[in-house]
Point group: D2
Chain length 249, copies 4
């Protein structure tokens, strides 16, 4: 019930953009994948404070100070997962367990931070043949699917298919199918410690998925759902030796 | 860890068979849908005691005595849900809450017993155009998917699509896709009281799905999973006024 | 992300108040249990529109028009569950499945509406000896526990103990213990259709629990969580025969 | 439905026994904690093949060969978590993801293997004052609670209390309370990859909990539930680039 503005940080490894892979990436993402995501969020959350950060920045742009003032962190990575320092991954993990929201996108399924928080391999099947993806809402009571059509039709996307090796989720929100017949749990929530996590699979570097209005709406819903702007600080759960009647009962 | 033989009752409304709808139903289901299911179970569970029951029998063949000696009840119904007496539904419900397993198949999603146990509308999308159904295993740790390929390919089936209006499940085991692109949570477990429930959507009266070896394997896994042959009786949970230290501590 | 004010209806059977059972009930609940709940909600949700309704009113105060303009319905009942008309129960159910939030309190576990939506007996153990209840937060990431201490200490309460016969929940938020050693899943969320449901057990007619600040905070959090003020109407899921490519893909 | 005998490995760090802490530990655990657990399992699972392993052995007794022939691994550790080699932890993790069952006991909540598989801090509250623990069954449909009384009364135990920082569980089976009023989710299941995990909190080195018949019964139920003796090998999920129609549909 906090009315403070959301503070969102959109992280992108930024390597596809730097290498111009694919060659035309700047034609649809002139400000990078992070720029497109940030713009999409801003359309829906005009009061939010939105910044971006990339791998090439000092500490990947994810300093203690940045994370301490972030309510939700978006994460896009693909070909440079190994270049993310373990120290930064541990820092992000500590903030998530302390209450910072985390939205992991597409190929971020294989990021260090996601695997660490899940405890599984996070492996899946994939195929890059520009197939149609249909994103069906299987949880109409969930805030992340509010106001959205079902299915969301994505004309061209990389296929991600089951088995997606993830642990038990809090809520399954979206299931996708692809032209080739595969299915995928494409929108899934998890909680870890005090933090809320949403994994959302649409969004490859080769297809301008983050320009699509319904996808932007999903991302904005996810930000609002994952954020806890009322938290003073991100404090992860800790062990304690509790005396009898410590609660003053 | 009981080694007693499973006692299975396969219930079928039996109306499609009686009316010969479709006209060739007896060519693939000469002993009815219940007969095919019972035969499939017997292949995998040679020690099980398997009987069948139908709507036309006295008390639909589901007397107190039959249910008291049933570890798992399979339920197939479609065009005669309303003809099932409320008294029998209430009796089945009491036994499920008391520990009898229940496997609800295909159009049984709209049976009185399933709706009553779910608390939702159990509605869905459907289309009967002989589409290919792919049944993907999304839960390889679950006993019901043990030993099965993924996907199971069903050449021709009625399409069932989301939104399938069911409550939170215990475990999601299978997700299907269809030629038209729709997806469906086709294998889902629930517990109610002391009882275990599995809903499995493949199996329309127009397509001989219950002759397919993988489908029979799923049904046998489900029977073994849902059964609690060690239970002496099916006793549903009851309210009680508990004295202090009733547990003798 | 709607900013429309919440519309809350607090329903109470109102029979304890009418019969003055216990004799001193009006000393702590001068405006009835519903009055105390409404006042507690108003403290935390000053912009909300809050009304009350009781069993004695025409249609128990829950007309189609009232429900159509209610984002969250609170439900308190105890000794008059059977006097609630089946027609009103069905109407409430339809609105919940269509997206109206429902918060069921204490002895409402045995209300027709709760049993119908759960599909189980909803039975439990109870003992009325003014025991201390400790309400522990086991889900610090959940909006309903935000800003609250753990445990909440309730000096005197009726004991509710396991086995609480409920189906799989969406989220378990609170677990209580009592002086006698029993435990109870005292704060549990469910979704049904498009609607969100929260069951919260504290709050007997003999103890002024709804005057306690932390309890009022829980109720306000629950209202904000369960409400979907952005919904135009409460429309429950429906079956449909879907043509190929109905989604325009 | 495999009828092959279970192959169980009971692992214990064995440090309390080696140091005789507490001094009388050999009076109730003459064969160590692992010995007591193995004996309890053998009582209920006479056909099982049960071995033990400890930290002091080469590779902690958990070689590739041992794990490849283990259906369920029990894990008890406390003061030597850090002495378990990362290589062995990674090996155990790979086998669990590949289908080996894992039962983590008591202070094993802080073992490397459990934290790695959970993705959270696994922290909790504790107090060692020989309090009475009541273990309530909140899931009577679950195989692990079959045949057991509720509550199980443990006369003297270390207190473990919430917040227990674990992720969403597959099933919550037991909730405990302690003399001091704290509650704890004391029996919880998880799946990771193809493997089934059960965490069970009773069992401190200072109290002979593993001699108690009901506790032994829980452990045997857990072994039978977690084992997949039908698996040929433990193969964790892997990523793959799937061609169109790889499933031969």
């Amino acid at each position: 019930m906090s009315t403070e503005p959301l503070r969102i940080t959109v992280w992108n490894e930024g390597v596809h953009e730097a290498r111009q892979q694919p060659a035309n990436i700047s034609s649809y993402y002139p400000d990078g994948i992070h720029g497109a995501i940030a713009q999409g969020l801003a359309e829906h959350l005009p009061d939010a404070s939105i910044r971006t950060a990339t791998l090439a920045e000092v500490e990947h742009g994810l300093t203690e100070d940045v994370l301490a003032h972030t309510d939700v962190l978006f994460w896009w990575g693909h070909i440079a997962h190994d270049e993310v320092s373990d120290e930064v991954v541990e820092r992000v993990r500590r903030h998530v367990l302390g209450g910072m929201g985390l939205v992991v996108l597409h190929s971020g399924h294989f990021s260090k931070i996601f695997i660490t928080l899940m405890g599984t391999t996070c492996s899946l099947k994939w195929r890059n043949e520009a197939e149609r993806e249909l994103v069906f809402n299987v949880n109409p009571a969930h805030p992340i699917s509010a106001g959205l059509p079902s299915p969301i039709v994505i004309p061209h996307q990389e296929m991600y298919g089951e088995l997606f090796d993830i642990p038990k989720f809090d809520d399954l929100v979206f299931i996708s199918s692809f032209t080739g017949g595969e299915v995928f749990r494409s929108g899934v929530t998890f909680s870890r410690g005090r933090g809320r996590i949403f994994y959302f699979s649409p969004g490859d570097q080769e297809y301008p998925v983050y320009l699509q209005p319904e996808i932007r709406h999903v991302l904005a819903n996810a930000a609002a759902w994952a954020a806890q702007p009322g938290l003073r600080e991100h404090r992860q759960p800790e062990v304690s030796n509790a005396e009898r009647d410590w609660f003053g009962g």
